[in-house]
Symmetry: C2
Subunit: 356 residues, 2 copies
Amino acid sequence: MKIAILPGDGIGPEIIAQAVKVLNVLGESFELETAPVGGAGYAAHGHPLPDGTLALAKAADAVLFGAVGDYQYDTLERALRPEQAILGLRKQLGLFGNLRPAILYPELAGASTLKPEVVSGLDILIVRELTGDIYFGQPRGVRECPDGPFKGQREGYDTMRYAEGEIRRIAHVAFQAAQKRGKRLTSVDKANVLETFQFWKDIVTDVHKEYPDVALDHMYVDNAAMQLVRAPKKFDVIVTGNMFGDILSDCAAMLTGSIGMLPSASLDASNKGLYEPSHGSAPDIAGKGIANPLATILSAAMMLRYTFNKNEQADRIETAVKSVLAQGLRTADIFEPGTTKVGTEEMGNAVVKALA
Amino acid sequence: MKIAILPGDGIGPEIIAQAVKVLNVLGESFELETAPVGGAGYAAHGHPLPDGTLALAKAADAVLFGAVGDYQYDTLERALRPEQAILGLRKQLGLFGNLRPAILYPELAGASTLKPEVVSGLDILIVRELTGDIYFGQPRGVRECPDGPFKGQREGYDTMRYAEGEIRRIAHVAFQAAQKRGKRLTSVDKANVLETFQFWKDIVTDVHKEYPDVALDHMYVDNAAMQLVRAPKKFDVIVTGNMFGDILSDCAAMLTGSIGMLPSASLDASNKGLYEPSHGSAPDIAGKGIANPLATILSAAMMLRYTFNKNEQADRIETAVKSVLAQGLRTADIFEPGTTKVGTEEMGNAVVKALA
Ligand SMILES: [Mg+2]
Ligand SMILES: [Mg+2]
């Protein structure tokens, strides 16, 4: 079980250090190797994704990624900016399946704009296809409108496309994720008006035959947006395309009110994955020892569940996180009166202690 | 000021009757003419949108529409179903601008799943382009994938398209709506990844020159979905395309928790419009005298504001609705302990009285 550790910039190294501590006390034989990425990659080797870092990521079974980006790299040309590292890794590793949980621990329910009874204990997972759909489909551009009432005018256009194999592989990721959770999958489409998503629905329905233990239902995207607001806890796993997933996963994350708590994963067809917190590198608080390491620690838990199939170890970490929250420990970003404010390292140590 | 009154099916006639009462006491010289539509159109003339009804709607300055659909018509072939009436009217009248307010009166804030301080007093307007975008764009279908890693497989595809004139006319509707409200417009796009919406953004920015009194900003659709959950009251008017508008307007409506209260409008380029409640025909409670007429009454207020430019009369109606809610009057759908349950007719009469 080889894991590439890519801390990155800003608070990345601090929060990754806590997740590494957690991995090291699980009693598993992980092989961890660290390499610079993002601004740190540029500083060390002149590129945000240095060759050695990419080679390490390719050789590893999973990548644990901190965060990239810092003020000093903002003026670099686009191809050298820290953010290119994550795009490059996704492309080079073929990571097409984006897993974004929206979890709200009861202790943090106050941070949500929704009523506690609606969101407290929320635990849903959005599986977003990440490399296809209208965000990448060709042809696209601005042209002379070829037909209809606006013929001859300029028009902007894009192409939504999903091929059968592309839908099948993300459906497999989603059904397998559902098997590891509540065994319910909602496929979100707009089959009533889009050919692409009628096709999507047909293929997902076909893949379902291989997963008889998972209950599948289908929902239109506009209704899904409504249901996320009305009764988000009714969902278990949601699978959808790149664009709908972009919208719904951000909406679902915001339901929790504390994005600093949310992990994420990007998987390939054999469950190799890159795991990272949903939040950014927060250069304004870097080095102060106050960053919240929990999203990164929870990303490590996702790695155990989705790449290494170690559900029990993942559960252990998640239970430990719940336990430190129940003890009243809070980093500054989730602090409320009546709780105990702790730093990055104290929080990491508390999770380690709760694992014992 | 000629108004076509199309009550339709289910609770349509009951709720329309209350809105007509309200229109009749405003002291304006409206010419109202009624015709059957939907199932009632089929029953009377063998078609959900009879020729005479369409002619009346075309000759009128505005259409006040109740709701269509009833169990007995569910087995008709698709072209004869009640729902075809609204699609036919939109098409025949060239109604491309859909106005969907999301309003939450403080008295009804308990119905929302969001915390009262986040949504109480919400009053935003979503302007959705209704006849273009990927929901109608050609070409579309299922074909053999012509290129890329899935070449040769079957793929579903659709075309997103917006022509310059199509964007200009919806932008004008939105800027003019903003002028009648808080003078702030947010154009929602995904210009960072879609050519169509970079083009959309450019055209909306250009149209803005004609409306220097309106403040314009731009927001990505995924962020808009987040902000609707995080701080919906920060918006005034949102304008977007057909698909994004479909998702965001339903999400915004659900923020209020009481869809039975929401009016809507569909406008053409000269502000001729069709006005209708957002809710359906509710055949299960038809004829019982318990339906909520307020969304229909508020639709009549929208008609005064957007077609007839009578902002003060629209304000009068909306103030009257606020007043009956403040008096504690509630139809069954919005009833809570401690308020007074009234029927459809009593509610309509109370609004009329509050207007005096
Ligand atoms: Mg997004
Ligand atoms: Mg909709």
